[in-house]
Symmetry: C4
């Protein structure tokens, strides 16, 4: 869909490679970047494993630097080749890219024995690089839309769950003593949420009969209540699914119910400019 003229500025070409994926080089760049991010995240993980860090500290450190330098080049390139740099710099990924590149440098500015731990924290921020991967998931958009659509309801729901947790947590704190682990209301609330969400660690568990009775009620409530977010999301997805069916695609596309003025066909893609049925302008 994009024609390639021989006389394009290097900026345009670089932009094409970095920001787009519909040219061979663009594809390769994205794939390379993908693996670079994976590696950088694995590095952070491995460093955190005591014995690995002890054994291969040097190697990890070197790889660490290579990755960081490559990310720096990418970051500069992104700024260089774009027309409005600020539009990238202050975009979600612009910030992510910056935050995930800087830590290693910072660890030299804020050198010193005391702040080492804080620096480790900085460096761990690089894990956020993984967020870049989302870029490669176009499919995600529809899921996101469904979640956004049910945002309001899920908020209300979580809020209701929180209120419930506060009340039930307080109740359990009064019923169960310290020996069961219900040392304070916040802890009891923590336990209540652990139970309501059916996680159930068991680090804290009721021991008195009345406590176990209340716990049972909480569980059954949680059992009935776990249905709600599922219901919400399912309905949202269902709607989009119906739209999809109208569009007849194998994988979901979001469509609107706007009808073609010529053929009155419904279920056009949100980004449609012509009717997919008769081709008349919408």
């Amino acid at each position: 869909m994009r024609e390639h003229k021989p006389d394009k500025g290097w900026k345009h070409r670089v932009h094409e490679i970095i920001y787009e994926a519909d040219t061979p080089m663009g594809k390769w760049f994205d794939i390379l970047l993908f693996f670079l991010i994976i590696i950088s995240v694995l590095l952070v993980m491995l460093e955190s494993v005591r014995w690995i860090d002890a054994k291969y500290h040097r190697t990890l450190f070197v790889l660490e630097w290579i990755v960081t330098v490559l990310f720096t080049i990418e970051y500069i390139a992104r700024i260089a080749c774009i027309k409005k740099p600020q539009s990238y710099i202050f975009s979600f990924y612009g910030i992510i890219d910056f935050v995930s590149t800087i830590p290693l440098y910072l660890s030299y500015i804020f050198a010193g024995s005391q702040v080492l731990l804080a620096i480790r924290a900085f460096r761990l921020l690089r894990v956020f690089r993984i967020l870049k991967l989302v870029r490669f998931l176009g499919e995600a958009s529809q899921l996101k839309r469904a979640l956004v659509a049910s945002r309001a309801k899920i908020t209300v729901f979580l809020f209701a769950v929180l209120i419930l947790s506060v009340i039930l947590g307080t109740l359990m704190y009064l019923v169960e003593g310290d020996e069961a682990g219900f040392t304070s209301i916040p802890t009891s609330i923590y336990w209540t949420i652990v139970t309501l969400t059916t996680v159930g660690y068991g680090d804290i568990a009721p021991i008195t009969p009345q406590g176990q009775l209340i716990a049972t009620i909480i569980m059954l409530v949680g059992y009935g209540v776990i249905a709600v977010p599922t219901g919400i999301v399912t309905v949202e997805l269902g709607k989009q699914g119906k739209g999809d069916k109208a569009a007849g695609g194998n994988h979901f596309v979001h469509v609107n119910t706007q009808a073609c003025t010529v053929c009155a066909k419904e279920g056009h893609r949100d980004d449609a400019t012509h009717c997919y049925n008769c081709g008349s302008k919408l």
Copy 2:
């Protein structure tokens, strides 16, 4: 939708501020109240944390009193400015407001070293203040409707789960001995519900092969059964969702299938008096 005449009694103005949210002052009052409730709940929580209470007892106590006094004023104001006080006093929130204001005073009436704990219980009732927050969630209404609609079914379901739990619990009590923690049938039933609801604390767990076999069956049953409440709520939400789609709103509105007598358009809001399409009286 409400016209503001200059000559309104103070009662009316106060009523407007306290009970309504469509005037600037009304909005501010609600927001203020919101944070007051949050603070009052946090106070109760913090008091329950041993070391915090030990350190900041005085501060918490003072804040406690400030909150209580403010709530008292609000409570009196609510009664003063309403035409039929009893309609508020004996309403759900009227009782909540009273119960969440009184404890601190009660702690002086029923003074004495022995009843201190009981008093703590009283004071903790103030946690119910948080229920007031629900007031601020109009969105909740639709979720509530869906849950109410599926009330009957969920009751039946929970009842079936209870029966199942009693039978399976008894079975486990016979199969597993005391050393596994199945000391009595009630305890075994507690464990069964913990398992069926997939909470799984692990404070009690089968150790004999046959016990583990039954546990496995219980889990798979629970796995198949967890679907039911979800299904029920999803269907209910789905119905309302369809109604919503008809009304075309972005966030759910409950609509009926009554058709306009003029334009026969369907999906009017339950509270609609005119057709949203042609405006003709319904």
Copy 3:
């Protein structure tokens, strides 16, 4: 719908009371029976609690006998007043009633110090009395229908889960050693199901990195897989829900898609003989 003639045999009257609930006495009988069952189940539970049994053994024993006698009378009455006794005796509830009445008597026939425990087992069977309660739940029918409709699918699903569990369980047995609790393949399979169903007791948990990696995969699989039974039941309920909507009832009724021969109205109750719309014979 049933006319009351003065000259009916006592059998008919008793039958009316025991088997039906549309006469005042029939209602009272059912309610009485309901509480009798609850009491009998509570008795079995309480007996199993050591300290309660030790303290109130005599009382429990007497109540035990009263309940058993009453159930015996009921059982005999049910047989006496019905035209075809065998149709009751060999019905589901007929067997339940018998099995839940006999144990106490059996405990005298098979007296002896060694068989005491076996007798306890017998007596515990009385818990199955609770199944009678299902009788009082007309609402349950629709849930049952949905579950029956999705029976085939859920069977297939559970079977697939079992296969998966066997393979993954074996894998974990090879990866994790005894010290982690994976002492044999059956135990590992038990653990896998505990994990797949998101119960997660924690009595057995992987400790090696590779074991935790596989566990993570199992969890994510279970996470994706837990959706299936829910989906199945939801779809089934949804269908019936649609039918319900057609019938326009507030609580679910099962309707068929048969159309009236006169007014072609759809969504008649399964038990309908006339069109609910035009009243013409179906």
Copy 4:
């Protein structure tokens, strides 16, 4: 649908027995094979239970050999009677069959004290025989289709969950110390997934207030997020359910929305060649 001519080669007859199930002998063969697989899997399991293996080693070993020989015969027969052997050999079940037959023989080729464990591993592969059982589940096809249809979405979803887990896991590693069990980022990620999927072993659990706070957030996120795969699968099943309803079958059939050119009836089976309504060629 298949006519039986008297003069068919033995290959054809054997093929009929082994590969098909619509002749009496074919049915019997399948049922026999079914039980053989179950037995072979049980054998592997029992061998892994220490005390059983110690007691019945000889018996298990003999049965082991019988099963293996029978499977070998089956495998050869399958190759012998088919026209294009390679089409079977390199098919999914062809490989499964081979892999699940060979281990016992291999255990003699690679004899030696050191490789014993590896051999056990080989032998355990025989568990994969159970996969053959899937053959007997026609019903599974529709579930499979629904899962395949939602494959893309579930992948995206699981990927998002992984990213989330990495970030939250890292956060927990920074917040919680070693004493809580968060010894490294990978371990923390393991814990995060255990929590997000609501499995909650409790082998690792936060102990610091801030850690418990983050854990609470993770749980509520997981609570809202568990809805997504369910929603996806439900929608997929729902679509197929609708199709099914159109086809009016009691158990699901996948139908397309293609309309008959003669009677315009919709909802034909994917494999339909004639309209199920008017019989005209599609």
